[in-house]
Amino acid sequence: MKRYYILTAFLLFFVVVSTGMAQDSKVTVPLRFDHYYPYEQVVAALKALNKAYPSLTHLNLVGHSEENRQIWAITINNPKTGKESDKPGVYVDGNIHGNEIQASEVCLYFVNYLLTNYGKNDKITKLVDKNAYYVIPTVNVDGRYHFFHDANTPSTNRGLRRPKDDDHDGLVNEDFPDDLDGDGNICIMRKRDPNGKYKTDPEDARLMIRVKPGEKGEWTILGQEGIDNDGDGRINEDAEGYVDPNRNWGYNWAPPYVQSGAGDYPFSGLGIKAIAKFILDRPNIIMVWAFHNNGGMILRGPSTKAEGKLNTSDISVYDYLGKNGEKIVPGYRYLISWKDLYSTYGDFTDFTDNIVGAYSLVGELFRTADETYSKPGKTSGGDDEIFGGSSNERSRERLKFNDHLAMGELYKPWTPFHHPVYGDIEIGGWVKMSSRLPHPFMLEDLVHRNASAVIFSAEQTPEIKMEVTGKKKTGKNLYQIRIRLTNSKAMPSMTYHSVKKKAYPMDMLKVLGTQVKVVAGGKLVNEYTGQTNYKKYKPEVQFVQVPGFGKTDYQFLVEGKGTVTILFESRKAGKKTVTFKL
């Protein structure tokens, strides 16, 4: 099992092998999820949703990308149930890697689902009323644009459009792959070669298998479709970027020599910097989801071993969300980023976890294992996902899936081509819209299940109740007041990590009143014996954290008379007040 994830890790790490285009449908609400939305349609969809639900939503122009495309966020908040900043914030984004496009559809589906079910479905109505939602469906807007409009493999166009001399030859982005046959895909080139290391798979002539020692070869694989644009003797060695937008964030950032794709400095990406500001301007955010593809994983931090383990109490919150997520999205595994995948520095969720103080999960959407052509329970290869479909059994099944379920849309049959350098070759293989993306007929299932995992976590944002559990006169003009803060959901009012690292001031419980003086106040440790940890200075302001699925009690000794207001103020769990007379 472990090995599989490592392989997936490798897969995600390297750039791999394929095009198809979304239909040019007009965007109307409710949105449809039987196709992929090009960048322009993502923006159109957000505008349509906002237009259809003007009282529940607003749009924010977050910033602009390297190629000056607009990055949009949609906010869902019901002003009738309070201000955004007084509610827990749930942030969802996707498509930070330009090629990982179905992530945007998950975001759009999530927004569409909340809005179209508001007032119809009780659970959704409650959830919309409870939280504020911030959704940026497409982070890497240039990447999405170019993925749809240019020829690509399923894995190209991942990075930011920042010029970068990948091969350190003094030129930038000078040798992209080339769509030699003009079909909109970057596929694989192969050449007939009796000394080649591959021969035709006897079971499916479209596949190649490695020759055994002593066997005669048939094919040499020449790599991705392309020519040597810059005449340096290498083909396709310096394409767009490469600055990885998910390595460019300010927490635990490491320079490019430690990790390629980091960018010259944290937040060198224009859109990335703008999104960071958007998030930091909304300190109420306590839950973050970032959608990627692929492999079928729900990942939590930390992203490097050196960061040490997360706080145990935070882990139990993550476990609650992650393990339920595994059930909501069958086949997906809840894993730890550095341990089960690989180390990353400067990634997005490490930033939101540490700097924003939000529970942060990554959803790696889609498993090729779901491309089946077999009796139930008898899938070939199972979890053995290897890039380029190099496990032959799996590849054969995927090709049958392509033939009988995708009607041939996912694989380009080998086609002769005359290459300027290699001479007579063949071009073929998995196309752009394959391998990392569900076929549109499977899209609705994927987006619904993953949006449901988000909805599950949105239910678990802190829900605080404050009550006066005791009020008695203990002396002349002296009252003992007991306050109980109860949280009926899994997430505490602030993460344990934020408390420990003093990431921001703790939540506060304040005693207010013009005719009162707080003589003493503190956390009530034992409600039966009355043992209280009194705070020595300024007892009228207590620093508190309300645990998930739990409660915390405070006791005050108040001298005076008249009206007393107890105010609970939390950055992420809203405000509560209770007022009474002495």
Binding site: H168, Y257, V258, S260, Y265, P266, T304, I355, K538
Partner: protein, 675 residues
């Protein structure tokens, strides 16, 4: 203008200000400047030299001060740059006023002599942290390295609510000492002005508590725990940045000042060297080695879960080269596996010690600088410059930009004269310069005392050391460098902190006692009877204005010597050998006329400065071997690299050969082939 006379700043009228500025423009540095004065001086310099200067506002600080950069050079304002540039960053931590004075002095000196910018562009940022710098000339005088970004230091219900207060009204924030049953401090016997921690194991009991001068403004029981200010810009850079510190900022580049510099540097690949004026001095003391955590690139362990994958043995260690070989076949075609891919996949992390090849030039240049200072008559011993801080500009410039990164601190307190020691005052520095014979001429007892004074381990007996030197096992110089690596000996019991001692000595001798104030009784609203006094802020890092001129005059020009050492690449020689049939073997040497390598070893690791590229143009050429464009990744200092091609040319003709580099110059050559 305020001229510093330690204690009370004097305000000078506008007319006088004009006079001073005019004087300054004739390269007469005078003391210290407020942020506004610094901007004015730079703008005036630029106005007087419009053809070769440009002033750019890089950022606006949270305190609304502009961070400005003065560009001087013949290519000022141009889009394409061919000349290498030198980046000078003044006072990143904001609490070293002489650093800004030095940057202004430098700007004046460069502009005075066009030869200084004939082959070099200068980017001078006189004050990277003007918000903090303003505290020096502000009232009360107070030392803080943070910019004006509001920050809730104690994470309570209020922000910036409890700063220091000038209780005694002397215009200076010093310390308060209060007798307290829980006090940990005592006054030392020799000089009761000096405080040190009591040592309970020696039966001492603390008497005082120490506070900075002020009251508990917000009534939380703590004093001055949340003064105004947020980020120390000077430690807000990405190398070894630590999150969640009191003043380091939330992430590297989180302050507008530091972000602007990160961005500027990335946009200016012509920067060939950097110089930070602050509190470390890489000119004098090469960057420190010995930090733990650096992975030895020749002994890399592969974690078990990855080992199987790439066919490695988790119990063995591998070199980077071996790992690249092992992983390359697994990568998809066209995906080149290099050090950074391996390092990130295995999570090897950052380089944390200066690379040996680079230390070589740092050490050699430091020796030359010491000699230079001696020749200029600056021989007096002073306290060591501070070590470069994690997250500092100078570390970032070396580790991330791969530059030869230098720094200067200009002044520290003079070392107080030592009492006679048994070793006869033998120092490590002296040892370093001794010949074998000189050393062996010393008396064994003297050597024993010297070893003891310098904290050599007990097993390091004088007799053994003498034998080692005698046998040639080690030279006195090697011995000295070993001793430098040893942890500093703990100060003797009952003695004052050497820095405080130095401050008091300097204050008494040069500042009329105004560098360390006597403790004076004060009635404090909550602490009761206290005494206010102690170290005056800046007295230990800021010489009196009268000294500034001579300090800068000697030290600042060293940068010109360093600039002369920059790598400078050219096409040295070519050789064409006709092979017959219109085929020619072409050999070409790329020479680095500079002392410094292109790039530094760290730069090579970083791949930061782009490669040198040699391009061959001509009519109807066929490259049988080699390419039209040839990137050259490194050329060592004062060395040449040979490149060769096999070219076919039907007819005799001319080859136009060009060399380009981002920061080490360019060259062209024409040669004939055939005919």
């Amino acid at each position: 203008m305020r001229i510093l006379t330690l204690g009370v700043p004097k305000v000078v009228s506008g007319v006088f200000l004009f006079l001073i500025v005019s004087l300054y423009l004739h390269a007469q540095p005078g003391g210290y400047y407020t942020p506004a004065e610094t901007v004015r001086i730079i703008n005036d310099l630029a106005k007087k030299n419009p053809d070769v200067t440009r002033v750019v506002t890089l950022a606006t600080t949270p305190g609304k001060n502009p961070v400005i950069l003065l560009e001087i050079g013949k290519e000022t304002g141009r889009q394409t740059r061919t000349l290498p540039a030198l980046l000078v960053v003044g006072n990143p931590e904001g609490d070293v006023p002489i650093a800004t004075s030095a940057a202004l002095y430098l700007a004046g000196s460069v502009l005075k002599d066009p030869a200084r910018y004939e082959h070099l562009t200068w980017y001078i940022i006189p004050a990277l942290n003007p918000d903090a710098e303003a505290f020096f000339t502000g009232t009360p005088k107070y030392r803080d390295q943070r910019n004006a970004q509001p920050h809730n230091d104690d994470m309570d219900d209020l922000t910036d609510e409890d700063g220091c207060n000038d209780l005694d009204g002397n215009g200076i924030i010093t310390m308060m000492r209060v007798k307290d049953p829980e006090g940990q401090w005592i006054a030392i016997k020799d000089d009761p002005r000096i405080m040190r921690k009591a040592n309970p194991s020696k039966g001492e009991k603390g008497v005082y508590k120490l506070y900075t001068e002020g009251i508990d403004d917000d009534g939380d029981g703590k004093y001055n725990e949340d003064g105004p200010g947020g980020t120390n810009v000077g430690i807000n850079f990405p190398h070894l940045f630590k999150p969640f510190t009191a003043s380091g900022g939330r992430w590297p580049g989180s302050a507008p000042e530091s972000f602007a510099l990160l961005k500027f540097a990335a946009g200016h690949p012509e920067i060939a060297m950097s110089m930070v004026y602050g509190s470390s001095d890489f000119c004098l003391v090469p960057p420190k080695k010995g930090r733990k955590g650096s992975v030895d690139m020749n002994k890399i362990k592969v974690p078990e879960n990855m080992a199987g994958m790439i066919g490695a043995d988790p119990d063995k260690t591998y070199s980077m080269k071996e790992l690249i070989k092992m992983v390359q076949p697994m990568a998809p075609p066209g995906f080149e596996i290099d050090e950074s891919v391996i390092a990130s996949f295995l999570g090897l992390g950052a380089v944390v010690n200066p690379l040996d090849e680079d230390l070589k030039f740092y050490k050699e240049l430091s020796e030359q600088y010491k000699k230079y200072l001696k020749d200029k008559g600056m021989e007096a011993e002073r306290l060591d410059p501070a070590a470069a801080k994690d997250g500092s500009v100078e570390l970032w410039a070396y580790y991330h930009l791969g530059l030869p990164s230098f720094s200067m601190d200009f002044w520290t307190l003079p070392k107080p004269k030592k009492e006679k020691k048994e070793s006869g005052g033998l120092t490590i520095d002296q040892l370093e310069k001794m010949s074998k014979e000189d050393f062996l001429a010393l008396d064994e007892e003297k050597i024993a005392a010297f070893l003891k004074e310098n904290g050599a381990p007990a097993q390091f007996k004088a007799a053994n050391v003498i034998n080692m030197i005698k046998s040639g096992q080690v030279s006195p110089k090697q011995m000295a460098s070993m001793m430098k690596q040893m942890p500093k000996k703990e100060k003797e019991e009952g003695e004052a902190d050497p820095k405080t001692k130095a401050l008091i000595a300097f204050s008494d001798s040069n500042l009329n006692g105004n560098g360390y104030l006597p403790w004076k009784p004060f009635k404090h609203p909550t602490l009761g009877e206290v005494e206010i006094g102690g170290a005056v802020p800046y007295a230990d890092n800021t010489p009196p204005p009268g000294m500034v001129d001579s300090l800068l005059k000697i030290q600042v020009p060293w940068i010109f010597t360093l600039a002369d050492k920059l790598p400078s690449l050219s096409l040295l020689d070519t050789k064409v050998t006709p092979k017959g049939g219109g085929v020619y073997a072409l050999e070409l040497w790329v020479e680095n006329k500079g002392y410094l390598p292109y790039p530094t070893a760290m730069g090579k690791r970083d791949k930061h400065p782009g490669p040198v590229v040699v391009t061959i143009d001509g009519n109807n050429l066929t490259f049988l071997e080699g390419r039209k464009r040839t990137p050259v990744q490194t050329v060592a200092g004062l060395k040449a690299v040979k490149l060769s091609w096999l070219i076919q040319s039907e007819k005799p003709g001319t080859l136009n050969i060009s060399l380009t580099s981002p920061s080490a110059g360019s060259d062209r050559k024409q040669i004939k082939i055939g005919g």
